[in-house]
């Protein structure tokens, strides 16, 4: 190789190497930004008061930044969504991989993928104009924009995420497991319940965790359909204000560098840490999953 070529080779190696580190740089950058923009708040506002305070009055003369109602609202709405997206997602995945024939699969799988690619603002819009009036009518409420509406729309929205991840997990179960079970005289349903689900359990669990993580970080849907009142939730039929919608709704009105601005970044930091925790948990479980199934193959 002549010198010109060698330099060229080295140059490309370096360029790609630098590109490779960008994700790490951005992830670190996000972490640093969230910390540096939120820490000034805690110079004059106690961390406990922020995390456990019951009142979120950011624009009062003596502002209150109690994030508890917002955190609880996020947990409520996400918990409600879980009851929808986990059974529906896992059920759909099992149907797709175990019961549907090739022809059905070829139609159904793209449809689920389409459901996954509908923008969140469209879900929010649909929730506002169709789901909310429906909920209002059924329960005779003053407004249809409630935690329940949020859970419902969010649950449907997270279903395809859970479904496609769970389907991957079920697909990892070796064919010999199914054949062995059927050969022993078990029917298909018994095979699903006793063989497929247990051997794909960690993958299915990972799918559920990532579904939850997606739901808790979702912004536009909850911003549009949960009503937005920052009080501690007592019922699913009242308006609530999750973390994400608080940031989205209030960031535009704040003064750069004010305590309110810092408080919104602190909310972002809480959100970031929660989803980071879920993602690392999912990563941990699925890495164990690979090893166990590898041994069984």
């Amino acid at each position: 190789m002549d010198k010109k070529h060698r330099i060229k080779e080295l140059m490309y190696r370096w360029i790609f190497g630098i590109f490779a580190f960008t994700s790490l740089v951005f992830l670190t950058g996000i972490t640093i930004t969230l910390f540096s923009e939120s820490l000034p708040l805690f110079k004059h506002y106690h961390l406990n008061k922020f995390l456990l305070g019951r009142y979120w009055y950011p624009t009062y003369e003596t502002p209150e930044f109690g994030a508890l109602p917002l955190i609880l609202a996020s947990i409520w709405v996400t918990a409600g969504a879980m009851f929808i997206c986990i059974p529906l997602g896992i059920g759909s995945a099992l149907y797709l991989s175990e019961l549907a024939g090739d022809k059905q699969r070829a139609v159904l799988k793209p449809l689920i993928e389409i459901l996954a690619s509908i923008p969140s603002v469209v879900y929010g819009f649909f929730g506002m104009v169709i789901v909310a009036p429906f909920i209002q009518k059924i329960f005779h409420l003053p407004t249809g924009l409630t935690a329940l509406t949020g859970s419902l729309v969010l649950g449907i929205m997270a279903t395809p995420t859970v479904a496609s991840l769970a389907e991957d997990a079920v697909g990892f179960v070796p064919k010999s497991f199914r054949e062995a079970s059927l050969a022993l005289g078990a029917n298909k349903w018994q095979t699903i319940v006793k063989v497929i689900i247990p051997s794909a359990s960690s993958g299915i669990f990972t799918a559920a965790i990532l579904g939850i993580s997606r739901a808790i970080g979702e912004t536009m849907t909850v911003l549009m359909v949960t009503g937005g009142s920052a009080v501690i939730p007592k019922s699913f039929l009242q308006p609530v204000r999750p973390i994400t919608s608080t940031i989205a709704a209030e960031m535009g009105e704040t003064v750069m560098g004010s305590p309110h601005y810092n408080a919104l970044f602190a909310l972002g930091l809480i959100l970031f840490l929660i989803t980071l925790f879920f993602n690392i948990l999912a990563e941990f479980i699925s890495s164990r999953h690979r090893i166990t199934l590898g041994a069984g193959r």
Binding site: K8, E9, Y12, R13, G17, F19, S23, L24, F26, L27, G29, I30, T33, L34, L88, G89, I90, G91, S92, L94, Y95, L99, L108, P110, I114, L115, S117, I118, P119, S120, V121, V122, Y123, G124, F125, F126, V129, I130, I156, T159, A163, N187, W189, Q190, I192, R214, G217, E218, T219, M220, T244, I247, A248, M251, G252, M256, G268, F272, N279, E283
Partner: protein, 285 residues
């Protein structure tokens, strides 16, 4: 025993069938309501004109153009970096500690909520680099958001290339870069493109990252430079539903807007899904 088993089997099947049916019924409802109500308002004027009379008449032309600019900017930023990262991980380095760190950070970046990208974009691009609320800030923020998706899709495409191809090229005396340029990238191109197309759909539909970095509910005329604020389709839907003083008329326009956005995003995704299925068939068939 036999009869009991077959009944439980039937109930089980029914349950799974209901799960997938319910999911698809919801998809059907969304498509049905938005299409039937949105189609009434869509016309050539609606797609090309400026909004007028306080958002109650006119079209959504600037919002469509704004979304195209933002999406194009994001792709321009994320594709070279994403593909480059995938090439480095797959072609240059052996599986080691560093690769593991990068893989973990890509996975975790993919899980960061979109509103957090918005906060980051606002603090870094809008304020720190003083790009202001602009196409540039919004494109960069969206670019970071779609980066993990592009990396994963490209890596998958690169991994599917048989080793014999690389070895044959190197055995003929080609250098590493020559092999990548002439053999690897062309072979992986269909897979990479599918990933890119899916990312276009994602970037076009995202709202939270552009809330504070690029979007405005109303901007007079079309954007002049990359430092202008823009209208964008997803943000326009949100604005129409939450701002303004004529909610009923605005809702009608929002239906049209939602239909256009859905048509755009689903059309793009459908193309990608079709390509992917075709590729899978050629790979395994």
């Amino acid at each position: 025993m036999k009869a009991k088993n077959s009944i439980s089997e039937k109930i089980g099947y029914l349950l799974l069938f209901l799960c997938i049916s319910f999911t698809l019924i919801f998809l059907g409802l969304i498509l049905y309501f938005i299409t039937t109500r949105g189609i009434k308002i869509i016309s050539w004027e609606f797609l090309t004109q400026q909004p007028s009379s306080g958002m109650t008449e006119g079209g959504i032309g600037p919002a469509i153009i704004g979304t195209l600019y933002l999406t194009f900017g994001a792709i321009l930023f994320a594709v070279p970096i994403g593909v480059g990262c995938a090439i480095y991980l797959n072609e240059y380095t052996p599986k080691n500690f560093v690769v593991n760190i990068i893989r973990i950070s890509v996975n975790n970046l993919a899980g960061v909520p979109s509103i957090v990208f918005g906060l980051f974009g606002f603090a870094v691009f809008v304020k720190f680099f003083r790009f202001g609320v602009s196409i540039l800030s919004g494109s960069l923020t969206l670019g970071i958001l779609i980066l993990p998706g592009i990396i994963s899709a490209s890596q998958e495409a690169l991994m599917a290339i048989p080793h014999s191809l690389r070895e044959a090229s190197l055995a003929l005396g080609a250098t590493k870069w020559q092999t990548i340029k002439k053999i690897i990238i062309p072979a992986a191109l269909p897979g990479i493109l599918t990933g890119v197309i899916l990312s276009i759909g994602r970037a076009a539909g995202e709202t939270a990252p552009i809330l504070f970095t690029a979007a405005a509910f109303y901007v007079k005329g079309y954007p002049r430079s990359i430092f202008s604020e823009v209208m964008a389709l997803p943000y326009h839907i949100y604005g129409l539903m939450t701002e303004g003083i004529y909610p009923e008329k605005q809702t009608q326009i929002a239906y049209g807007c939602a239909l256009v956005l859905m048509f755009l995003v689903l059309g793009i995704s459908a193309i990608a899904i079709y390509f992917r299925q075709k590729q899978r068939r050629t790979h395994y068939g």
